[in-house]
Amino acid sequence: MRKDKLSNIFFYIGVAIFMVIIVFPFYWQIITSFKPPEQLWNIPPEWWPSRFYLGSYISAFTKRPFLTYLKNSAIVAISTTALAVFVTSFAGYALARLHFKGKNVILALALSVSMFPGIAIVSPLFLMMKQWNLLNSYLGLILTYTTITIPLSMWNLTTFFRTIPADMEEAAKIDGASPFYTFVKIILPLAAPGIFTTAILVFIAAWNEFLFALTFNTKDALRTVPVGIAMFPGEYTLPWGDISAASVVVVLPLIVMVLLFQRRIISGLTAGAVKG
């Protein structure tokens, strides 16, 4: 009993140290965002703002249309996630469970797409987007991001679908259910954690992308957050406070989102476990 308690304490200490390392850079950014300009470049750097200065936040929102950037990023990232996960959950299921020829070819093909360095395909993609009239639009970015994230999403979901025990499907089949019905009613709920994880991965990949966003959407009204933040520095200067404030604002909604979804997923998991 006492041994358990002791190892518990060690466990928490370990987790705490780990958390500190993980969170520290972000803490540093938050602190920087509240530092008044005169404190920003002190040597050695100070660990706490001398006074809480909100100027960086004010200028983050007033100097640039930051809310527009956030809105654009949200639209692009959410649509990409929906589209990619939707498309690949079908593909993943088929590849994991159905019998047909050429599965390995399909998986390899998908993977090979993600092997190409992004910088090499920017200019030909620009050419295509121009021809399709998709420059300066959401759809251009959504299609691009979806394609880039399909391989990851497809591989991931295929693996998850494979791990789901086959007996439940067999039972459904014997009951006369179609594979599609089985997929929607039985497999999808069981695969919830996998789908959720994939969705987060895709979402953040789309949320973070810089190069395509920079070249495809040149109008301020259609820019996404990473490009928007690149608009803060001057040619030779770096307003570090403003940039920190802007990045804190970018990360907060993601943290809130994860915290909110957290419960859903855990409840989804327990529901799955009860059924299983």
């Binding site: 780990f18 993980i22 969170v23 540093w28 950014q29 470049w41 002190n42 040597i43 050695p44 750097p45 498309v87 593909a91 299921y93 088929a94 590849l95 159905l98 019998h99 047909f100 390899a108 093909l109 998908a110 993977l111 797409v113 092997m115 360095p117 992004g118 910088i119 090499a120 200019s123 993609l125 295509m128 299609l143 691009t144 394609t147 399909i150 591989w155 693996t159 998850f160 494979r162 791990t163 025990p165 179609s178 594979p179 599609f180 954690p193 996998g194 987060i200 973070n208 810089f210 990473p226 933040i229 570090w240 940039i243 990045s247 970018v250 990360v251 943290i255 994860v258 915290l259 957290q262």
Partner: protein
């Protein structure tokens, strides 16, 4: 067996249904990705320089020959391999630890799960600037911490030394992407049925035996997939290096993608730049073949 291949209730043969379900994803890929890839391949066989686009001609494999004799190319290859192997290995270990912790029931687990996502949710362009700033020889907090701990006796220029710059990039990369690994592995852990552990415990297996006999084999497919994608990403690392060092000091952090970028966008040498891109593709293709081979063994 016959029964599995055709489904009576809908009348669609199983293989047709399979192709149907795969089509949307493939369509996306074909629509968007195939043209750029073919173009890059064909450009790599020319001496296309954007400054004189009309003078471009077919030169066969000359660009590749040039690269194989190019010291800078091999230096970039070495840097890329070093970066990839070290950072992916560290990410795997740390990510696995994260996943195991997050899979345990304890108070504050939700908080840990959310916190772990923070590094990953910060766009690379920002997190790289952030790290660059923390590594700064004067304003950087890293020097401050190490000095307070007595580990160094004067400020050091971490990004300015050929010995430490690549390591700095690796640490920033591990910090940012270990959560990716952690999350994927966590999802994998969650699909392992609890009964397996229970029955093993009943059979008298200890914690360590349960880990190696149940956890590791069952998580292997997920782990391989996570490894594939992390390796592919690490091998093509660009943003991070671009922001933190720009390839310096003295080209000691120049990776293949950085080299390709310089050739394509700075020098407008589309022939040679495309050839580097194709070589990256081939390297990565070989790496993933190994993984796929391992994965197939796993599945059989």
């Amino acid at each position: 067996m016959q029964k599995r291949r055709s489904i009576k209730s809908t009348g669609i043969p199983e293989n047709v249904l399979g192709y149907l379900m795969v089509t949307p994803a493939l369509l996306c890929i074909l629509l968007i990705a195939i043209f750029p890839i073919i173009r890059t391949f064909s450009l790599s066989l020319t001496d296309m320089k954007m400054q004189f686009p009309d003078a471009a001609k077919y030169i066969g494999l000359n660009n590749y020959m040039k690269l194989f004799k190019d010291e800078r190319f091999w230096n970039a290859t070495y840097n890329t391999l070093f970066f990839t192997i070290v950072s992916v290995a560290m990410e795997l270990v740390i990510g696995f630890a994260m996943a195991l912790v997050m899979n345990m029931p304890f108070k504050g687990r939700g908080l840990v799960r959310a916190a772990v996502l923070v590094p990953w949710a910060i766009p690379t362009t920002i997190s790289a600037t952030m790290w660059k700033f923390m590594y700064h020889d004067q304003f950087g907090v890293l020097n401050d911490i190490l000095l307070r701990l007595g580990l160094i006796d004067q400020y050091k220029s971490w990004l300015g030394s050929t010995l430490s710059a690549l390591w700095c990039a690796i640490i920033a990369d591990v910090w940012k992407t270990a959560p990716f690994m952690g999350l994927l592995l966590l999802a994998g852990l969650q699909t392992i049925p609890a009964e397996l552990y229970e029955s093993a415990t009943v059979d008298g297996a200890g914690k360590i035996r349960r880990f190696f006999n149940i956890t590791v084999p069952l998580i292997m497919p997920t782990m391989l997939v996570a490894l594939i994608f992390r390796t592919l990403d690490a091998f093509r690392v660009f943003d991070l290096i671009f922001v933190m060092t720009g390839g310096g000091p003295g080209n000691s952090t120049e990776t293949l993608s950085m080299y390709a970028y310089t050739m394509l966008f700075r020098n407008l040498d589309f022939g040679l730049g495309s050839a580097i891109a194709v070589l990256i593709f081939i390297f990565v293709f070989l790496i993933s073949l190994i993984y796929i081979y391992l994965l197939n063994i796993q599945n059989d």
